[in-house]
Amino acid sequence: MPGKSRKVISSMSRRSAAALAASASLALLATACTGSSEAGAHDDPNARSTITFWHGWSAPAEVKAIQANVDAFEKAHPNITVKVVGNINDDKLNQALRAGGSNGPDVVSSFTTSNVGKFCSSGAFLDLKPFIEKSKLDLGKLIPKPMLDYTQFEGTRCALPLLGDAYGLYYDKDAFEKAGIESPPKTWSEFAKVAKKLTKTKGDGYEQLGFMPTYHGYETVVDHYMAQWDHAYFGHDGKSSVAKDPAFAEMFTYQKKLVDDLGGFTRLEKYRNTFGDEWGAKHPFHTGQVAMQLDGEWRLGMAKDAGADFEIGTAPMPVADDEVDEYGKGFLSGTIIGIAPRSEKQNAAWELVKYLTTDTAAVVSFANAIHNVPSTFEALKSPDLKVEPGFKTFLDIAQNPHSNTPPASVNGSTYQTTLQDFGFQYESGKVTDLKAGLEKTARQIDRDIEQAK
């Protein structure tokens, strides 16, 4: 009997090993099954057709808002029916774009601005140039420059902005008043003083933290900080300049000092673990656990909805002490929208893309509904745009000529993740030699880009 069992087990093990090999390799099976033909823009946009639009919004109010815009589009284009599919993230999108097929999307959108380089260079999103020329759109007159910049890569415009996000400073006005602080800080040195003044310790934790500076403090990531320094991620030769541009060393040094001054990495991380979810009602800014927060324009509505019981102030994030003339700028990003290269109804798809991104009424109504920043000049000036007092800050940041976003790269956000990874090492004290660390990071970024080309 044991002998028989041994045979069974032996056979099962071999099968299991074979199963592993199959599963480890199956991930790549799909690659061999993909075609490479493009459908081309040969469809008649006036013919009766149904197109599929994939987007990432999932909250009921957001889904309702995008559906209202699509309904308005269908009314204006009665020959085109739009099938809307929501809650699509980049992973699902990538797979669908590769697979194509009749059930695939025609119009696609993504929240990940930093993936534009990957989308444009790989052909995952169709080049929109022929459509823009055919429609005689002068994008420079329609859309603010930073938004135009982050929707193209090395001259290939494969996307357009569908509303934008601007990042600024949220602060608890009541806490400011109690601490005797009259106005939001404009420079990073002022900011450090304010953050310390607002911090109240309790045992080995905090009763209130002025600001959570660690790179895991939700939106306090490296590229959001860097937006407040005059910087360049890449040199003219396309090589990483994080080790050469002094702005990076300044930012890392400043952030590390702030971490140390506010209690040190370990203590801050322990406190961070008591925070609620970034997208839930128990966000630390809502609950008063932190008195200041770097965040996008959506936080205003979320904080109010969560019942924050203090007066909320908004302002641009501070700038470097020697760059005061650029105060008012901030980090920008936003939703991007484009056309799937395997779509067989590209002209009809373009009609929807054009409508959602350039029709003033559509842009304004959508911005009002989901509390995002409009992505056209006309919409930003529109009298129909609902501008609450705190929201105007973000509209101004979006239009500030110094506002910025990291440049698109052929491997998407990989270089930002690499830099962020170095940030984790440096803030926690695992790496202490900043110069050597940044040089190593720059070499890694260049190698990753070389690999992706």
Binding site: S5, S13, T31, S110, F111, K118, K270, D421, Q451
Partner: protein, 313 residues
């Protein structure tokens, strides 16, 4: 004439054999041979899933082994999990199985209690563990604090994240418990009686009666455990993401392996490289490493198994 008839007979026989084997041959070809050959082929190509593959020799291999900073931490983590998690699961599963076969009352209740966690969806189970082991608000650290014991950072501490994943795996040990119980109940009673008559202690009865009888099942548990651990993806990914605070906001950067790459595993790299960075070539290299490791572990265990059983026989 006779030779001709013989040849025809042999040909018919060969065709019949192939016909009978064809379902397996097709399955083997489609689900094993073709993907494996494709993986080797694409590991030598630059391919992003959209354009035409371009030959680049061993560049992907040198990138993964020399320049991809996540590969070696992921390999170390995977090996750690294979050695520690698999061993702990087998020992714990066997221990629970032994315990349940020995108890006289409430067997059904205990069996259900130990088996139920195995049925919990991996994502939900991982979320629950991250919540329970949250160093700031989790009940586990509150209890440890009340008892005056040090409270680890669990999923937020690189030194504790893999032990925390192991604890999660032990919680869901119901599958092994069931197969060990079946094996233990199958051990002939008379062998225990004979051993007792010879004055064998409990340990000697376990060592010389129980273990040899259940060794094929132990080997099955180890081999399948190694293979499952090589494919370990969901739990470390979810734990890392939730503990880091990044749970999928708009356009947030993916940061696998939180904290400090300590929860990175090789399958995460296959996904990250292939489906997020569009670098199919490098993803294939990692997949092949995974395949080679699984084959090596299986071969090693199969060789060791003979020795184990001989010692017990």
């Amino acid at each position: 004439m006779a030779t001709h008839t013989l040849r025809a007979k042999r040909r018919r026989s060969a065709l019949r054999t192939v016909a009978f084997l064809s379902p397996w041959l097709i399955g083997f070809g489609v689900f094993f041979a073709y993907p494996l050959v494709s993986t080797v082929y694409f590991s030598l190509m630059k391919y992003d899933g959209f354009g035409t593959p371009v030959f680049r020799g061993l560049d992907n291999w040198s990138y993964v082994f020399q320049d991809y900073p996540m590969f070696w931490p992921a390999l170390r983590n995977t090996l750690w999990l294979v050695l520690v998690m698999v061993t702990c699961r087998v020992v714990f599963g066997l221990g629970v199985g032994l315990l349940i076969t020995k108890i006289k009352t409430g067997v059904g209740v205990f069996r259900t209690l130990f088996y139920l966690p195995y049925l919990a969806p991996p994502v939900a189970a991982t979320l629950a563990f991250v919540f329970l082991l949250n160093p700031g608000t989790g009940p586990v650290n509150s209890v440890l604090g009340d008892l005056g014991l040090p409270a680890p950072g669990w999923f937020t501490d690189p030194a504790w994240s893999k032990p925390a994943l192991t604890a999660l795996a032990l919680w869901g040990v119901g599958d092994l418990m069931v197969i060990f119980m079946a094996a233990l109940l199958d051990v002939p009673k008379e062998q225990y009686e004979a051993a007792e008559l010879d004055g064998a202690s409990a340990w000697k009865r376990f060592r010389y009666v129980t273990l040899p009888n259940i060794s094929p099942i132990v080997m099955f548990a180890v081999v399948t455990g190694v293979i499952q651990t090589m494919q370990y993806y969901t739990q470390p990914l979810v734990a890392g993401k939730v503990a880091s605070g990044v749970i999928g906001g708009s356009g947030q950067q993916f940061e696998p392996g939180y904290p400090d790459k300590s929860t990175l595993t090789l399958p995460q790299l296959v996904y990250n490289l292939g489906f997020q960075r569009f670098d199919y070539g490098s993803a294939c290299v990692v997949a092949l490493v995974l395949f080679a490791l699984a084959m090596a572990f299986t071969a090693l265990l199969m060789r060791r198994r003979g020795g184990l059983i001989q010692a017990g026989d």
